[in-house]
C-alpha cells in the first residue's frame, strides 16, 4: 500500500487540476440548464442572477427541444461534419498518392499544399465567401459570366450553333442562401483541412513496404489493384486518426457559419448555443448538454471503428 501512496500523491496535483478543469464548467453548465437564467429581463429582474430559487427542472430542455431550430441544428451538424470528413479523406488520399512520387519541385509543392492549414478559420471564411463563392464579385460569378458569354458567342457559330442555342443562360449559385450556406461551409473547411489529411497520409505512404509492392507486381497486380489491396488497407489507420481528430474539431465549427450567413438556414449546435446565449443562458446551457451528448454518441461510434482498426 505504502509503495503506491507516494506516486499517487505526486500525481494528485495534475489529476485534481484536470478534474476541476473538466468538472467545474460541466457542473456549472448542468446547474444553469436547470434554472431560469437570463442576462437581461425588465419583467423578472430576479432571473438575471443564477440562483437555485429560479429552479426550472427540465423546462429549459423542453424549451430547446421545442424550438424550431434544434433538430435542424443537429441534422446540420451531422451533415457538415460528415461532408467534411468524406471530402477531406477522399481528396487527402488522392493528393497524398499523387505527390508521393518523386518529381522536381516536390518540396515546394508540399509546403504549398500544407499552407491552407495555417490560415485562420475566420480569414478562410471571409476569403471564400467574398472572393470565390460570391455570385457577383467572386470567382463563382466571374466563371458563370464567362461560360455564359462563351455560349452566347457559340450560338451564332455555323454547324453547331443550333446546339448551343438550346442551352439556357446559367445563373451563379448564391452560397449565402438558406439551402446552400452549409455547402459553402463544407467547401471552405474541406479546403482548409485537406492539407492535414494529406500530411498524415503522406507520412504513412512513405512507410509503405516497397517489397510488398514488388511482390504484388510479380503476382500480377496492376496499379489499381496495388492501390486497392495494398495502399488503401495500409492507410486505414491514418484514416481513422484523421476522421477522429477532425470529427472532434468540426462538431464545434463556429466562425465559418457566422461569417457565411450569420446562421441563416445553416446552424449547428454550437451556433445555436451562441444564439441562445445572447440572452437565455438557461436554454444555451441545456443546448450545451445536448451537444455533449451528441459529441459522446459520435465519439462512441468513432472509437469503436477506430479502435477496431488500431487493434489489427
Amino acid at each position: 500500500m505504502s509503495s503506491r501512496r507516494l506516486p499517487r500523491l505526486l500525481q494528485a496535483p495534475a489529476v485534481i487540476l484536470l478534474l476541476f478543469w473538466m468538472l467545474v464548467p460541466l457542473g456549472m453548465t448542468l446547474f444553469f440548464s436547470f434554472i431560469r437564467y437570463v442576462l437581461a429581463s425588465l419583467n423578472r429582474p430576479e432571473w438575471t442572477t443564477p440562483s437555485i430559487d429560479n429552479w426550472r427542472g427540465f423546462g429549459n430542455y423542453a424549451f430547446v427541444l421545442d424550438s424550431k431550430d434544434f433538430l435542424f441544428a443537429i441534422q446540420n451538424s451531422l451533415l457538415i461534419v460528415g461532408g467534411i470528413l468524406f471530402l477531406t479523406v477522399f481528396f487527402g488520399v488522392m493528393i497524398a498518392v499523387l505527390i508521393n512520387k518523386v518529381f522536381p519541385g516536390q518540396g515546394i509543392v508540399r509546403v504549398l499544399l500544407i499552407s491552407p492549414f495555417f490560415i485562420m478559420p475566420a480569414v478562410n471564411a471571409v476569403l471564400w465567401i467574398n472572393m470565390i463563392l460570391d455570385p457577383v464579385l467572386g470567382l463563382n460569378g466571374l466563371a458563370i459570366e464567362g461560360i455564359n458569354s462563351v455560349i452566347a458567342s457559340m450560338r451564332d457559330a455555323p454547324v453547331v450553333g443550333w446546339f448551343f442555342s438550346l442551352w439556357p443562360e446559367f445563373k451563379p449559385i448564391s452560397f449565402r442562401a438558406t439551402q446552400t450556406s452549409a455547402y459553402a461551409v463544407i467547401m471552405m473547411v474541406t479546403w482548409q483541412w485537406t492539407p492535414f489529411a494529406v500530411l498524415i497520409f503522406m507520412t504513412s505512404l512513405q512507410s509503405e513496404d516497397e517489397q510488398q509492392k514488388e511482390a504484388a507486381i510479380l503476382d500480377g497486380a496492376g496499379k489499381w489493384s496495388q492501390f486497392r489491396f495494398l495502399t488503401l488497407p495500409h492507410l486505414a489507420r491514418p484514416m481513422a486518426i484523421v476522421v477522429m481528430i477532425q470529427a472532434i474539431f468540426h462538431l464545434s465549427l463556429y466562425a465559418e457559419i457566422e461569417i457565411v450567413s450569420r446562421g441563416n438556414g445553416n446552424k449547428n449546435l454550437p451556433y445555436l448555443i451562441g444564439e441562445f446565449a445572447n440572452n437565455n443562458i438557461g436554454a444555451a446551457s441545456a443546448t450545451g448538454i445536448f451537444a455533449v451528448i451528441l459529441a459522446n454518441i459520435v465519439a462512441i461510434f468513432l472509437l469503436r471503428a477506430v479502435g477496431k482498426t488500431l487493434m489489427e
Binding site: 510488398q212 514488388e214 511482390a215 504484388a216 510479380l218 503476382d219 500480377g220 497486380a221 488497407p233 489489427e312
Partner: protein
C-alpha cells in the same frame, strides 16, 4: 520449361556500372545459387531476371523467348523476398490466393491449390491467421506458398533465410531443397551465406562486383577454385592464403591451404610450420585453432577433427597435405 539465359546483360545506375556485360545460362530444373559478398550485384541480377529492374543493355531469355521488355507478372516467375513481403492485412489464405485472384482464376481452383500448398508447407492450421500472428519461419512458408500456387516456370529466392534464426535456417534450407527435388522446377537462389550455397546448389555462381568469378558445382568450387577470391569465399572456415617465401617454394605468388587439410601436432615435426595457438574453438566434433606466428599468413586457421587438447600460448607444428595445396599467380588466378 524454365531455362533462363542472360545475354550480354548490362545494368547501370546512372553512370555507375553495377553489372558489366554478363552471360549466364541457367538450365531447366536446375537449382542455381548466386553467392557473393554484399553489394556484389547478386540481388540486382535476380531483380533483372524478375523484371523488377530494367536491363540497360542485353537480353533476358526465358525458355528461349526474349523477355527483356515483358512486364514482371507476364514472365511466369515467382519470387520470395527476404522480408517475406506478405500482405499484412490479409489472412494467410488470402495472401496465397492473391496471385490467383489477380489472374482471375475460379474460386474452386483457387481453393484446391491453396489446400494443396498449405498441406505441403504445414500451413493448414494457420490459413485463417494474419501474417502478424505467425513466426518468421511460418511467414516465409506462406511466401513460398504464394509462389508455389502460381506454378511458375522458375522460382527466384532473394536471401529468403537471412531473417530467420540459425536453427530455423537449417530447417528451411532442407525444406526448400526437398521442394526442389519434388517440383523439379528451376530455382535461382541468392545468398551471401556460402554454407547455404554449398548445401543447396546444383550449380553455384560466385559473383564479385557484378562479375562472375566462377560457375560450377559446389565440389568443383571447393576442389578447384578458379582464383583467390573463390578460394577464400567458398569453404568454412576460410582457406588460408600464404604469400612470400613459403609460396616461392611452390613456384607461386600465393598458395592456399584449407584449414581441414593441415595436420597439427604439439611435438616438433621436421619441415613443419611453427606457430602459437591464439584461440582454440572447441565444437566437440571439430576444433578450430587460430594460430599466430606462421610466416605469410596470420592468423592461420586449422580445423582438426575431434577434440584436440591445445590452449592459448601453446607451441604447435603444422603440416599441410601436399596434394591439397592450391597455387595462384600474381593476378590471383589458379596455376
Amino acid at each position: 520449361m524454365g531455362q533462363i539465359v542472360l545475354k550480354d546483360v548490362v545494368k547501370k545506375f546512372g553512370d555507375t556500372e553495377v553489372i558489366p556485360p554478363l552471360n549466364l545460362t541457367i538450365e531447366e530444373g536446375e537449382f542455381a545459387v548466386f553467392v557473393g559478398p554484399s553489394g556484389c550485384g547478386k540481388s540486382t541480377l535476380l531483380r533483372l531476371i524478375a523484371g523488377l529492374e530494367d536491363t540497360t543493355e542485353g537480353q533476358v531469355l526465358i525458355d528461349g523467348e526474349d523477355m527483356t521488355e515483358v512486364s514482371p507478372s507476364k514472365r511466369g516467375l515467382a519470387m520470395v523476398f527476404q522480408s517475406y513481403a506478405l500482405y499484412p492485412h490479409m489472412t494467410v489464405r488470402k495472401n496465397i490466393a492473391f496471385p490467383m485472384r489477380m489472374a482471375g482464376m475460379s474460386e474452386d481452383e483457387q481453393n484446391i491449390r491453396i489446400e494443396a500448398a498449405a498441406k505441403s508447407l504445414n500451413l493448414t492450421d494457420y490459413l485463417d491467421r494474419k501474417p502478424g500472428q505467425l513466426s518468421g519461419g511460418q511467414r516465409q512458408r506462406v511466401a513460398i506458398g504464394r509462389a508455389i500456387v502460381r506454378e511458375p516456370s522458375a522460382f527466384l529466392f532473394d536471401e529468403p533465410l537471412s531473417n530467420l534464426d540459425a536453427a530455423l535456417r537449417v530447417g528451411m534450407r532442407l525444406e526448400i531443397s526437398e521442394m526442389h527435388k519434388r517440383l523439379k522446377t528451376t530455382m535461382i537462389y541468392v545468398t551471401h551465406d556460402q554454407v547455404e550455397a554449398m548445401t543447396m546448389a546444383d550449380r553455384i555462381v560466385v559473383l564479385q562486383a557484378g562479375v562472375i568469378e566462377q560457375v560450377g558445382t559446389p565440389l568443383e568450387l571447393y576442389h578447384s577454385p578458379r582464383n583467390k577470391f573463390v578460394a577464400g569465399f567458398i569453404g568454412s572456415p576460410k582457406m588460408n592464403l600464404l604469400e612470400g617465401a613459403e609460396a616461392q617454394k611452390h613456384k607461386a605468388h600465393t598458395i592456399g591451404i584449407r584449414p581441414e587439410h593441415i595436420k597439427v601436432s604439439t611435438k616438433a615435426v621436421k619441415g613443419a610450420w611453427k606457430g602459437t595457438v591464439g584461440v582454440a574453438e572447441h565444437l566437440g566434433s571439430d576444433t578450430f585453432i587460430h594460430i599466430h606466428g606462421v610466416e605469410g599468413c596470420d592468423p592461420m586457421t586449422v580445423r582438426a577433427a575431434g577434440d584436440v587438447a591445445v590452449k592459448h600460448g601453446d607451441k604447435v607444428y603444422l603440416t599441410p597435405e601436399k596434394s591439397q595445396i592450391h597455387k595462384f599467380d600474381e593476378a590471383g588466378l589458379r596455376i
